[in-house]
Symmetry: C2
Subunit: 370 residues, 2 copies
């Protein structure tokens, strides 16, 4: 995680694929699903399904690229799950890959803004940070909350990242420094926003029976769901309610035959602290306007009832955009397998991962269990 | 089909979606699959799943964008089919949409070239036309064929487009003019290459039982398959054999429990005449080096044994890149339903559509029947 200027897009993907195939103890792959957001813009390279299949020794196999802005990683996993469930694909490989830092400045910002509405948002200067700023400003006004009340999310992320050797920011962050950080797009500041990064992560998906025969410690995806919301922020009835998060969470829980109270681990899309607060409210863990309190009261820590961002989350592990959703799934899987090293939470059997695109126009939720 | 500068990307998609929903007599859609190639580059807009779902009255529904270069349309259909087959999605909507002509010159060329290898092809000046030129040159050398021998493909496409009011080029094309056309990338010339266009096409996919209850004239997708090849042309063992075409055709036929001899209609990816010749060879209708003869001998005409490009194909109907694969499926469906108007072929019950990405690195084949 970080800046990988010495590794090509395809090789970055391969590094994750190699690790996933090693872990799953198979090379017998029928289909490849690639999640990516920026390659067409920043690497002048689309058609990543065939490209990465070829480079990874899967020439000939079915392969496709899947995109939903910053939710591209998890939504690629969703396609693989449906493909395996259909019976036509026996074993699928899913990789999320992003080379986000090869270009900087206006070109990078323009590319990162393509998940927002080009005609009604980006054209007028609204960027991902700006849209988060608008939401945070409204949240603070509506619920009488101050900037420092959001500090708990970033403090927790940095504390957890300290135990993750692959994280970008392993330094401790104090609440006082959070509140005093330089402003990016008011009130969003530097320690509020997750850093965009290069990265790749991959998983192998197969049927329950095959998984048991194939790998020593398979994790079951018990539920999976995608939902959408109004695309542009101004066009939603309520900009402080992430309705796609609610819908996809409820649908994934229903498919898993579980309730939110059963979830022991939460890898949410903490791209900005306000998104974490809103997600905790929309998934039903906090009342409206009180999501920030779970962080402020330490309830999202590794020893709390709602452990969040256990490897550092987008904020401190880093946010490789189209790969982020698969980082979440890999990290949750390591937790469920008891292989999370110094990041480990005790006795965790059921986890939830949630990946958002744009300002929440797409929400992808997966429920994992062992 | 053509240049739609007065219609936005989302509205172009909606026009096709409205027609598909009207035709299927439903508005009850669980998931939207969007095929598109260029929007991130040319419209600064990605995240088309949520965008088009919202604009089409499907806010809340599962939605995703799917990409495989010029094969994006058909590969979006493939995901919808697997989703419906999985049982989690009851009814899916698939739309292919492309706004390719809002920008011209180097920016358009750069965007259209993203389906080739950025590091090993495009960087050195290889464009889609150039890569087709390399293949055609080799074909002519290897098989002792002249440029004029390929004329039959374009002549047939224009003749068929004359009966299609939505086609871009409805004028008759004579073989003499084909051979004398200005050269684009030797030996590919202006009448050899399909014109890039704006356009959108959509279909509704549901289970067999639901389709019978829903729509008056449903078409069955009997087989569907995706295969890949070496990504860069120079990296294939044999640049005159489209191995992904062979693989995906054989897999689709097997799933449909049919043989190539059963197919009565062929909507192939005639982006360049050499691609048509190579595809006819790779799907098993012609010996190596003889694909062009089927066109030269008039066997691909509407009254021939292998009718091809019956609405004009990519060459004369136009090539809206990420939407092309769905144009093929819509046109084949109209043929099978006997609703092809002046383009109608008599007594056609089984058709094959095939959509290629890059220089054949991805091939997507569907078998349709009534």
């Amino acid at each position: 995680m970080g800046e990988h200027w010495d590794v090509s897009l395809r090789h970055l993907a391969w590094q994750a694929i190699e690790a996933a195939l090693d872990d799953a103890k198979t090379t017998d792959i029928d289909a490849l699903y690639v999640g990516n957001m920026l390659a067409g813009r920043l690497s002048h390279q689309d058609h990543l399904g065939a490209l990465i299949a070829d480079y990874s020794g899967l020439r000939g196999a079915e392969a496709v690229a899947v995109e939903a802005g910053e939710a591209s990683g998890a939504i690629a996993l969703r396609q693989a799950l449906l493909a395996v469930k259909s019976g036509e694909i026996k074993t699928a490989l899913v990789v999320g890959v992003e080379k986000a830092t090869d270009q900087t400045g206006s070109e990078a910002l323009s590319a990162q803004s393509t998940s927002l509405d080009a005609d009604y948002e980006t054209m007028h200067g609204v960027t991902p940070a700006a849209v988060a700023g608008l939401m945070m400003q409204r949240y603070m006004h509506e619920h009488q909350v101050e900037l420092e009340n959001f500090a708990g999310f970033s403090v927790n992320a940095h504390a957890n990242a300290g135990a993750n050797p692959l994280a970008m920011y392993r330094n401790r962050l104090k609440a006082e420094r959070f509140a005093a950080a330089p402003v990016v797009s008011a009130p969003v500041n530097l320690f509020d926003a997750a850093p965009v990064a290069d990265g790749a992560a991959a998983v192998v998906i197969t049927s329950h029976e095959r998984a048991l025969a194939m790998a020593p410690k398979p994790v079951r995806i018990a539920g999976s769901a995608v939902a959408t919301d109004g695309f542009a922020l101004h066009d939603r009835q309520d900009i402080l309610w992430l309705s796609a998060v609610t819908k996809s969470t409820q649908a994934a829980l229903k498919r898993a035959n579980l309730a939110i109270e059963d979830i022991q681990l939460f890898e949410l899309h903490d791209s900005y602290t306000v998104m974490s607060a809103l997600a905790l409210e929309a998934i039903g863990l906090a009342e409206r306007g009180q999501g920030w309190q779970l962080a402020a009261e330490g309830k999202i820590g590794r020893d709390g009832p709602y452990p969040m961002s256990t490897f550092g989350g987008l904020k401190a592990r880093g946010n490789p955009l189209g790969a982020t959703g698969l980082y979440q799934v890999v990290e949750a899987s390591l937790q469920l397998r008891g292989e999370a090293g110094d990041c480990q939470i005790p006795d965790v059997k059921i986890g939830l991962t949630q990946n958002l695109g744009g300002s929440g126009a797409t929400a992808v939720t997966h429920i994992l269990r062992v």
